[in-house]
Symmetry: C2
Subunit: 346 residues, 2 copies
């Protein structure tokens, strides 16, 4: 565990700035006195793109590599054509830094209002593949804009890429009390990629005899997310299915305002990046209504990744206590950040 953290901060668009400020507030409050926190802010996102046409210049990509980790707020703005910032900045970072484990825990916190009636405890994590599948940008369009247009999207999957994320998921399942791992894919239709995933899942599973395994088609998985979310422990899945399932998971566990994520490069070759699952929410940007909890929980994932387990746990406990103590009155972004900073410091 290093006694200094060189943190890159990308507030990004919309509510990104506001929630990241609270994340940093709590981070500062929870860190031991002798840990030196060096933060450097990167101005990337819609504003920058409008000003210069740049999404992520090479020099900045190089500079970002020098950090221990990245904290990101949110990327995306209606004033920018859909896909420009997503592909040119967010996905570029995930791919350039080989964030092959996109880690998304889902937990029903105490006193949280889930829209599901009377469900018991929910506590699972989704290990979403982060560097392959339909996200590679492969594909194209022919005769664009004409009645004869043809557009393709190619999902690229490699044994190399699938095996490493599947192995990571087994490790995580093996370390949890229930030791259960579910593969989600659609191997009855996407037979090439689906069978490769399933074969690798079964093969790697032989090394983890204590982990019980399960396979679900993605459509069936959405049903269980609603009717039986407590059946899940660890889920491993493809990039696109993981995108869909983790928003759904957030919805059934009390909202996207609480969903944290880590884009992790487990090899340590590149900095990992932590961000709330929610987007930039331009409709509420600047109103002080954004819930910074998802970002603060992402800071906990960041601390755990860097080896600060007690501090990570402290944040998660603070969030649980804070939610439990809620009296139903609306609090501003700042007030929630202050409350959590006070709890972790105290």
């Amino acid at each position: 565990m290093s006694r200094s953290i060189r943190l890159a901060v990308i507030p990004g668009d919309g509510i990104g700035q506001e929630v990241v400020a609270q994340g940093l507030k709590v981070l500062t409050a929870v860190l031991p006195q002798d840990v030196k926190l060096e933060t450097k802010e990167y101005d990337l996102g819609a504003r920058r793109w409008h000003a210069t046409g740049e999404t992520l210049p090479d020099a900045e990509l190089e500079a970002l590599k020098q950090h221990d980790a990245i904290l990101l707020g949110a990327i995306g703005d209606p004033s920018v054509p859909s896909g420009v910032l997503e592909r040119g900045l967010l996905l570029k970072l995930r791919f350039a830094f080989d964030h092959f484990v996109n880690l998304r825990p889902s937990k029903l916190f105490p006193n949280t209002s889930t829209p599901l009636a009377g469900r018991p405890d929910i506590d699972f994590i989704v290990v979403r593949e982060g560097t392959e599948g339909p996200y590679t940008g492969n594909g194209g369009s022919l005769r664009t804009g004409t009645p004869a247009e043809v557009a393709t999207e190619v999902s690229l999957n490699t044994a190399y890429g699938v095996e490493r994320v599947v192995r990571d998921a087994y490790e995580r399942a093996n370390a949890r009390p229930r030791k259960k791992l579910t593969l989600v894919h659609k191997n009855n239709v996407l037979v090439y990629a689906g069978h490769m995933w399933k074969n690798i899942f079964d093969k790697v599973g032989q090394e983890y005899p204590e982990v019980t395994t399960d396979y679900l088609h993605v459509d069936a998985a959405t049903i269980f997310f609603v009717t039986q979310p407590e059946r899940f422990d660890v889920i491993v899945t493809d990039n696109l299915f993981g995108d869909i399932l983790t928003d759904l998971a957030a919805a059934v566990t009390g909202g996207i305002g609480l969903a944290a994520s880590g884009n992790i490069n487990p090899t340590g070759d590149f900095p990992s990046m932590f961000e709330p699952v929610h987007g930039s929410a331009p409709d509420i940007a600047g109103t002080g209504k954004a819930d910074p909890t998802a970002t603060i929980l992402s800071v906990a994932l960041l601390l755990r990744h860097l080896g600060y387990e007690p501090q990570a746990a402290r944040i998660e406990e603070a969030v649980a206590t804070d939610l439990e103590a809620r009296d139903g009155s609306a609090r501003s972004t700042d007030e929630i950040g202050d409350a959590l900073a006070a709890r972790v410091a105290g």
Copy 2:
């Protein structure tokens, strides 16, 4: 409206046989005396594949073309490798008969227990594209089974295919009181197909000035299915997203036991095919526990498609009344079929 119906019946696997029997019972009961119903059963599915290695021989495909419509139970069995029957039979039928509108209504029936706490009325239809996207079987695998394997899945999308299904969805939205149409895609990542869908959606929309439109990314759509399902009226989407969203829709509206679907060829060039959204449920096959309601509601869609609107409505009302009258005691597949047949006849 023809005074005869030549119906092909494919009971298929698992509970398929049982639920189809109830569908036919209700169909017979609801039809006017002077309508001649000719049914022909086709032995296709797992049993046939084990016996002969065939999924859908050309001769049978030709024979099926001679019918006015097809009623299908369910396809798929754990004893058959995943994908063989799905691709070789179910999807082959959808593609060969150009079922480009995969129609899936979602309705919260009275007295149905939705897992969502205290939600108001839900009543929307999903128009799922049925002949393109990631379902075309395009793709492949190189160095299969080795650590150097690469597997691809290609989503194929054409302006021709997208425009016709988008137009169908506008027609349906225009005919409903709320006149609202939502496009669901993922055009911030799948930029080639996604932008084509969005451009065509906007272009065709100019012909329907009374329809209000909306766009959602598929991940965000799953959140709204849970938190605000009543916001939807008609949804149009890609083949794979439609697959995922309609299972989720079934889950939030009281279960997959009530979800009906029609694989429709609106041109009438080929017979349309009606089937419950649920699968073959081998775990409960033969136990009499399968709920035939989804199949019976699929029969209603079949009747509407063939021009028997009053009879279709009669079935839907019977299902509503039947659900309202439930006393909570478990009923067998047969008992539910008998009850609905009695209601539609009476």
